[in-house]
Symmetry: C2
Subunit: 552 residues, 2 copies
């Protein structure tokens, strides 16, 4: 404990609200900071050529010495994927506390990025982590990756329950039951603030148990005489476990295909989260020497990502795996919002090649969500009895629906907080209110490098919609127009070549009268505006203009 007691606790989301990805929550007293999760995300539609997004940590820049550590709730990329980019920007040696499996995934990640894994600390359930003014306990919950935790955070201003991604699964596969004893005890001891997953707050009732998928797999494997392929999220170890059991019962060997699934399976098996029956796994090369009805492949790429193993197999670009007419591919995953087009394109492509595809639109029981539906979200409120709530990990509409559930649970409207680019402050006496706004920028990783600049991304978007046009003006020494070249790129001037001639003539007339030797910047601006005007008028397009002035 610090000598001077803290005057308040501040909670600042640097990601994770109001969006699904880039989860990162800063807990801060006068003296200490600890951070929950450090995720990555994918950019919105309209942004291209970017690998991924990460949280904007400018807020932490002058607070490095206060940071006591990270606590990680689970091993999904939207909660751990930011570390390789964020860690090198932080004070050296900040420890990361997490569960066994998330630490295993992080260790692999750190090896790839040459980050020292010594900062990783595996913490047991309910064992207090002391980080300055904060005491944090991790308690087990169920989710679509094993070893997921909620956090009970003791602060000088009251207890906070950090309930990120979860569901209540009473028949989980290879996972512990949710620790409702700790949840209800936290509620009895008093919870000032509950941060809760809200992604499926729109859904009535309860989410289905992971265990139901085993029967679905059985139905899909039964009587099948060709190859069977299962694709799912590569971190969904429980799903992979069920696929292994079903393959074994149906006398099929299994091969894993794809970097992420091979890596995750290795880590999960080593740490005891995946139980691989003996003599089940074979190398993918050996697999193809077996009779077809003894083959089962577990392949990454259920989201239809370009360049993923399944996508390359579908396009015939995979060097070692080929599928044949009549083989079956089971999609055991729903498209993540935004991925619909990719997923359906992949299903269409596989269908074209005579592959027998099973997916949610045909059989809804091939996948269950890892997130709590509305009744489960209400259960968590009933157990923890929070004074205030913050929905997390959803977009606006999910936040709003969560708010409606909270109202049904008797939480007053003004105790339902949806911070957006701002902090939440807890004062003594458990008074919670909005704090200062903070300015969060988009941070992209592009070609492996971090960039905060949006201007070039906006240019790309404009060029996508409208094309570009290079205007080359040759000037006489005296300043008059010598020659003029207008070079459109991505603008179909073939539609109307006359219009192009008109633009050139009208532009020459207007600009010929200008002296462009004096103020270069002003002249370029004039050129851009005039070209824009003319292209809109004559071609109906507003291309990005790149003016080039050449003096004699």
């Amino acid at each position: 404990m610090n000598q001077f007691p803290t005057t308040q606790i501040k909670i600042t989301p640097l990601g994770g609200t109001p969006n699904v990805h880039d989860n990162m929550w800063v807990y801060e007293s006068d003296n200490d900071i600890f951070i929950v999760d450090c995720g990555m995300g994918f950019p919105d539609e309209g942004v291209s050529g970017v690998d991924l997004t990460i949280p904007d940590i400018s807020y932490l820049k002058d607070k490095q010495s206060k940071i006591r550590g990270f606590v990680v709730t689970h091993g999904h990329e939207d909660h751990i994927g930011g570390f390789p980019y964020i860690i090198p920007q932080m004070r050296e040696g900040i420890p990361i506390y997490t569960s066994k499996l998330a630490a295993g995934f992080l260790k692999e990640k750190f090896r790839e990025f040459r980050i020292d894994a010594k900062i990783l600390n595996v913490v047991k359930d309910r064992q207090p982590i002391m980080l300055g003014d904060f005491e944090i306990k991790m308690i087990p919950v169920t989710h679509s990756v094993p070893d997921t935790k909620h956090l009970i955070i003791k602060t000088p201003m009251g207890n906070i329950y950090h309930g990120s991604d979860f569901k209540f699964d009473w028949t989980p596969v290879g996972q512990e039951l949710p620790d409702i004893q700790s949840m209800t005890r936290a509620g009895a001891e008093g919870v000032v603030l509950l941060l809760s997953d809200c992604l499926r707050s729109e859904k009535a009732g309860y989410s289905l148990s992971e265990a139901i998928v085993e029967d679905s797999f059985e139905r899909e494997f039964r009587g099948e005489t060709n190859r069977v392929v299962v694709t799912t999220m590569s971190s969904n170890i429980s799903r992979i476990q069920q696929a292994l059991w079903v393959a074994k019962r149906n006398n099929r060997k299994v091969a894993f295909v794809g970097f992420s699934v091979e890596r995750n399976v290795k880590v999960a098996a080593e740490l005891g989260f995946l139980n691989i029956p003996p003599r089940l796994i074979v190398d993918k090369k050996k697999m193809f020497t077996l009779p077809k009805d003894e083959q089962c492949l577990i392949i990454a790429g259920s989201q239809g990502q370009m360049g993923s193993s399944l996508e390359r197999i579908a396009t015939g670009d995979h060097k070692s795996v080929k599928l044949d007419l009549g083989d079956k591919v089971i999609f055991s995953a729903d498209p993540i919002p935004g991925n619909e087009s990719n997923v359906y394109r992949l299903i269409d492509l596989l269908s074209t090649h005579g592959i027998n595809v099973s997916y949610s639109d045909i059989s809804s029981d091939l996948h269950v969500s890892g997130h709590a539906s509305s009744m489960e979200l209400m259960m968590l409120m009933a157990m923890t009895k929070p004074k205030y709530v913050i929905p997390t990990g959803g977009t606006h509409r999910h936040n709003i629906q969560y708010g409606k559930l909270a109202v049904k649970m008797g939480i007053p409207e003004d105790h339902i907080l949806m911070p957006e680019n701002q902090s939440i402050v807890i004062e003594s006496g458990g008074i919670v209110h909005f704090g200062d706004p903070i300015d969060l920028k988009n941070v992209y990783v592009e070609s492996g490098l971090i960039t905060q600049d949006d201007a070039h991304i906006l240019d790309r978007k404009m060029m996508f919609q409208e094309g570009a046009v290079v205007v080359v003006l040759g000037l006489h020494k005296a300043g008059g127009l010598k020659d003029l070249d207008i070079i459109p790129k991505g603008v179909n001037v073939q539609i109307d070549p006359v219009a192009m001639q008109t633009i050139k003539e009208q532009f020459a007339t207007v600009m010929g009268a200008q002296d462009m030797t004096r103020d270069r910047l002003y002249s370029k601006d004039r050129i851009s505006k005039e070209i824009s005007r003319l292209f809109i008028e004559h071609i109906g397009k507003n291309p990005v203009v790149i003016p080039i002035i050449i003096e004699e």
Copy 2:
């Protein structure tokens, strides 16, 4: 009948398979052609700056004199939206035969595009349309726009049943019951070939009746004290009818907002397909003078389209309609595949502004599909008893699922035809087989003009992903490199300014040795390749290169 009997019947899809849009089917004997539908579509992801797509009619170029007419099945844009662009490319005066409502929609469309509406012919149900070797009868079916028809086509080579978009709705709203008498009679008389809607072939069971939505609206309107807004597809007259009834019963006046919904309502009401209760409709300006609990707005834009009325209202850009905190917006439409991001962005935006949004993810009964589910598709096969089938209006995966249903109905695998860029031929004796391949190009409407050129669209896509770079080379008279400017646009060279300097130096070294005065095209190609190589190596990007050579 022609003097010389035809030797075969050829059916050629110019659109509508294997995709959902651009529906256009050419029926052809030795002497005559008639065409079913002439739709439009929207381009795939990865194509931007394009208004819409239309069928490629190159196939018809040298066959104009054979064309006896168009027959239109129903008034949806993916079946009639191509006409304004296709008609001016065709022989003058080709007649269009269709039902009353589709003709009404087309008439309005033709007025906008200054096309003579005299070519429109309204045909009664079951009244034969004689088009050379073909006799066509339209029979009523139910769908998400009233007055939708199936076609029974008599040809010298046997009868064809053209079953485009439909469902079997036994409690339709303001629509006739499906004419199953004609369907079964066609089956009894013998159907060589059934073309069938297949969009919902993935769905088990039966689609729900349109009539159920009235109860959903009642629940949503009941007890609401703020404004209620309903948004749906503007051609879904049955849905609008139910909204009107429910508004009336709940003591609300109704105003229509948006060009497409206002136009469609006007046409449908004039032709008797929409029954507007007296004194229910008010002008949108007057609407806002009423108490909030007496207001109901029916607004276009349920697909989240940029620039639609609802989108402009949500962004605050609509000049006459503003919504307030607590107003309710009911989405009575599901996102069309590909529109998910737009729709959810709109719902999020409305939610942010404190609008109470009801949509399918919360209440699944706010919308029902207008397409037949698998049992209905099988019913149509049972009624028409076809020898051969062609699934239409779906993508590959829908076609494949339809094929599985056909197999269940006893149709042999090799009688299930999925033509792709090729014709289907019926020979005497009812032998059906694949015909010659045809080369179908993408045809876009861009800034109101038709373009078949993809090159500039590909350039735009490349610039979106990778950016562009202008390379200006000044040459000495002798041919040597005088000066060099590299101007990136949409490439973030700020990330690594050193790399940019390196590129410039290495490029100057390589190109300085070249004589670029001789073969300009070759030189530009060399420049592009060298710049690409250097940008990939040093920046990790492969921008579109625009080389400019300036000689002294």
